[in-house]
């Protein structure tokens, strides 16, 4: 685990236009607010999305992510602020005149049309010559591997195939921007994982900018180049998946993404290298952690650490800081790994995760065992928000 705070570039081939100050964003939200009556769905939101990005809007239901997407699609207009697509204000442009297509959560396939006719639907509206339409439809069918099912109706194919038809239909017009509203929500877990990779492949092949709405953090982590974590109409953090996970800027983000141990305490005694001691419980040694921003002495703060970064052992580990002693309360066996719930003498429960790289019989920690938990000084982050 390296120092999480500064971003580490991995060379010129890395795709990160948001770091380039000269890059022209494809979509710009400028102080966009959307209200439905008294309810504020989107609250003074400003964000840039760049061409070829796979941008994920992640958040619980009611956080405004769908409203944001529907504003991009043209089905809602902002109450305040402007949305620019390629530098042009798209507020007054109706959905049928935007170079934006949407893949609906319900897929919204036309039940009276065949797979082929569904895909051709948008192209026909553009009054393209028939041979151009046919060629494009064939291309799309090949892209989503549905040539064999072209003349079936939507109810005659499986859920996964319907999902691919919806994707092909929304990509057929080669939009500048493709919106995906919970595109994999209706699929079972195994198919969903497969389809995530397919989506990424198709996104790369077509070079289209994707904005995806999801409440599944694993899905967002897998597919997205950047994730915006949303809460109550605001974007709490917009960052790459690894930074969202490793260096969340608030406890909300830390708690929303993945599993986390949150320990509240008071900051004190800054180290020279910027690390800070957190006094969190009488009788326990202070925790040493890396703050994400300025943490003055005495500030109430939260120390957040992922369970897999907490080491668990029966013997006292080496080192001097961040070592606590406790008793195993519970073990959750997940197959590839196990989560140990360890209760400290003060009653606090800390979760530690261990990869099961040995057969179950060879593992020596079991219920009621006295164990030591430890983590490095850079493993966790100190949050004030």
């Amino acid at each position: 685990m390296s120092d999480p705070a500064p971003a580490t570039g991995t060379g010129p081939s890395e795709f990160a236009p948001w770091k380039d100050p000269d890059a022209q964003p494809l979509i710009q939200f400028r102080n966009v607010t959307k209200r439905f009556g008294d309810f504020t769905a989107i609250d003074d939101l400003t964000v840039d999305i760049y061409a070829r990005e796979f941008f994920a809007l992640l958040g619980p239901s009611g956080c405004g992510k769908t409203t944001l997407m529907r504003m991009l699609g043209g089905f809602e207009t902002p109450t305040e602020g402007t949305i620019l697509l390629d530098g042009q204000d798209i507020g007054p442009v109706p959905p049928n005149r935007r170079a934006v297509n949407m893949m609906f959560q319900s897929y919204a396939l036309f039940p009276h049309l065949t797979v082929r006719e569904n895909i051709a639907f948008g192209l026909k509206r553009d009054k393209l010559p028939k041979d151009r339409i046919d060629a494009r439809v064939e291309e799309m069918l090949r892209l989503v591997q549905l040539q064999k099912f072209a003349s079936r109706k939507p109810h005659q194919i499986s859920g996964g195939q319907r999902q691919r038809v919806a994707l092909a239909r929304s990509l057929a017009k080669a939009p500048k921007l493709l919106l995906l509203d919970e595109p994999l929500g209706a699929l079972d877990k195994k198919l969903r994982t497969e389809t995530q990779f397919e989506l990424m492949e198709i996104q790369e092949k077509t070079g289209t900018t994707f904005v995806i709405v999801t409440h599944d953090q694993e899905e967002a982590m897998t597919v997205a180049s950047r994730i915006a974590v949303m809460d109550h109409g605001r974007m709490v953090q917009v960052d790459t998946p690894d930074r969202i996970y490793e260096t969340p800027n608030t406890t909300y983000v830390a708690d929303f993404i993945g599993d986390v141990n949150l320990i509240e305490g008071n900051a004190a005694a800054h180290h020279e290298d910027g690390k800070v001691e957190i006094h969190w419980r009488e009788g326990e040694p202070p925790i040493v952690g890396t703050p994400m921003g300025e943490v003055p002495d005495g500030t109430r703060c939260t120390f957040a650490i992922r369970p897999e970064k907490v080491a668990i052992s029966k013997d006292h580990p080496e080192g001097s800081s961040n070592i606590v002693h406790g008793k195993v309360l519970d073990i959750a066996y997940l197959g590839n790994m196990s989560t140990y719930h360890v209760e400290l003498p003060t009653g606090v429960i800390i979760k530690a995760q261990l990869a099961n790289n040995r057969r179950i019989a060879r593992r020596n920690i079991t219920w009621e065992d006295e164990v030591w938990l430890s983590w490095t000084e850079t493993a966790g982050v100190v949050l004030t928000g």
């Binding site: 699609g73 043209g74 089905f75 109706p94 959905p95 049928n96 934006v100 297509n101 949407m102 609906f104 959560q105 319900s106 919204a108 396939l109 036309f110 039940p111 009276h112 639907f121 948008g122 509206r125 553009d126 109706k153 109810h155 005659q156 239909r169 929304s170 017009k173």
Partner: protein, 298 residues
Amino acid sequence: MNPRRTFLILIPYLWLLALFLVPFGIVFKISLSDTALAIPPYLPTLDLSTGWAGFREFLSELDFENYVWLTEDDLYWKAYLSSLQIAVFSTVLTLLVGFPIAYGMANAPDQWRPTLMMLVILPFWTSFLIRVYAWMGILSTEGFLNQFLLWTGIIAEPLTILNTNTAVYIGIVYTYLPFMILPIYATLEKLDASLLEAAEDLGCSRTSAFWLVTIPLSRPGVIAGCFLVFIPALGEFVIPSLLGGSGTLMIGKVLWEEFFSNRDWPVASAVAVVLLLLLIVPIILFQKHQEKQQEAEQ
């Protein structure tokens, strides 16, 4: 098959037998008989006491004379044709009036829908006859409609509406409108709003999305509504006799006159049997079409 299932299937068949097939058999038998001054006013009647020979004699007296008669007098086929024309035209009119109402209902805010539904059904709470009589009051030369139009100055002379085919059309459209609205409303209400959004997203204007998505998807409701209006309108008797004039020729009226004015039950029965056949043919065609479509979709 287990007895429980046999029993369950038997119930609708018994229903059909008792309330449709047996009465139809009786009517068909009368249509093959000869008229007579007797009670009942036709011959022969089946006397089971005479045994097998009596039954054979009974059969030998039945013939298709009355059906031949139907083709000889041009009143009948003219009445059939005119009924067909009136039924088709009024079905189309009902569709033109009913579809926008159903569409409006389906797009109305949720809390209004029960009220609108109630308003559509409400006329059924008053007797059908009274409502048709009420139309006589509205459409007559001194009726409300003419008085209103005269008062507004749109017309100088009262219009003759009552006792014309126009009045019959108005009556049929008014009476059967709910049968058109309800099935169309049912299909439109089920229509997924995201389909229209998807159509718009793919480049349709609101109008073309309506024609390309709403209309094709409401087809089952439209077909059901048209049948529900067309079938009773074809045999309609009350509306043409109360609102129609001497020029209004409908088979329902002819039927009534044969039965009650001429007391010619055999010919009247023949008219009824032919009417039923005329109705059954389009129904069977429609069902065949539905089955074929369902097969194609599986």
